[in-house]
Amino acid sequence: MRARQRAGPLGPYAGLLCALLLWLAAYRNLASLSEALLGLLPVTRGTHFASALQFFFYDTPKVLLLLTGVVFVMGMVNSYFTPERTRSLLAGRREGLANVAAASLGIVTPFCSCSAVPLFIGFVQAGVPLGVTFSFLIAAPMVNEVALALLLGLFGWRIALLYLALGLTVAIAAGWIIGRLRMERYLEDWVRDMPRSAAAADESAVPLPERIHAGVAAVRDIVGRVWPYVVAGIAIGAGIHGYVPEEFMAGLMGRDAWWSVPLAVLIGVPMYTNAAGIIPIVEALLAKGAALGTALAFMMSVIALSLPEVVILRKVLKPRLIATFITVVASGILLVGYVFNAVL
């Protein structure tokens, strides 16, 4: 997976092709790789320990490969959608379709949670409607490339797609409702009184090699930051696979326990961790009998809402708007949890 970073001297295209071939070769040989690794160690096949190890040796390279691939592609895609360009696409739009556009742009626009407030101000100042701004702010952290890559690696494309669709739905609906409630007066006074500014975007074209470079930079930054969480999470998951009895969670988080969804959301909302830290735990919960809707609701509430985020947003929103924001988003997640448990 480090191949991309050494690709410099070959020129960007040759380097990209080499990296792609290496990636494919590695991905197609994951099973034999994990077998070979296990064979090198003095463990007896068929024991709990051996099955935990095999799970670890197979899942870790698989998830890291997928993460590298997805983050690279998203890094390139991100270079087409600067926050400034997204803002000018959304400024002055009417609510409704604009909520859909804002939530979708939230996925592809580069976003760091530490920029949430300046971004919020920039959007509102340029005349992006409040509800549309919220659709963006809800989708951007919740539906991100790390979450999608991990879901893809651990649960397959169906659940990854489902998460994508539900995350977008919650962001669109919650933003639309907040817009309907006409809560502009619950912005902090200084935000409301800021002079309007035009949404100018720098439209200069970026050459392709520079976009490839942006993809490499994203891999270095994001994969470099989250890989310890991924490895630790899979190790915990592997341990649970090997040792904790099946159906251990079924009573607590199973489909029959109606209170499990609200409880999962209640626990998840104040928690703060990134997608990389939470998904392996979700996997372990699922493997031991937790219902899918409950587990997804837990995951969404951990990623989308958090105490530190509320503290930051308090600088620009009055308490009433913050309370509305949390209530609307949490209710949406709750609904997703129940619908999932009922349908699947």
Binding site: E84, C112, L119, I121, G122
Partner: protein, 76 residues
């Protein structure tokens, strides 16, 4: 003497940006006065939407992430 401001709410990327600017300025022997701006209202006033941002003598020269070393070298 250049007046350099780094805008950001104190995340790790802001700290790396400050470090990088100090390092490059020292290497090039450029005299700068470096200031860290963490106040949201001040950041908003410069019109920066994604932090860290860099302002030199009142002009926004960079926003949205740690600048590349080559870019910083171009400033001094």
């Amino acid at each position: 003497m250049k007046d350099v401001k780094v805008l950001g709410t104190g995340c790790s990327k802001c700290r790396s940006t400050i470090q990088l600017i100090e390092e490059v300025a020292r290497e090039r022997g450029a005299e700068i006065r470096l200031e860290k701006v963490q106040e949201i209202q001040e950041i908003a006033r410069h019109g920066v939407m994604s932090t860290p941002g860099v302002v030199i003598d009142g002009q926004v020269v960079h926003s949205g992430g740690v600048p590349s070393r080559a870019k910083v070298e171009g400033w001094f």
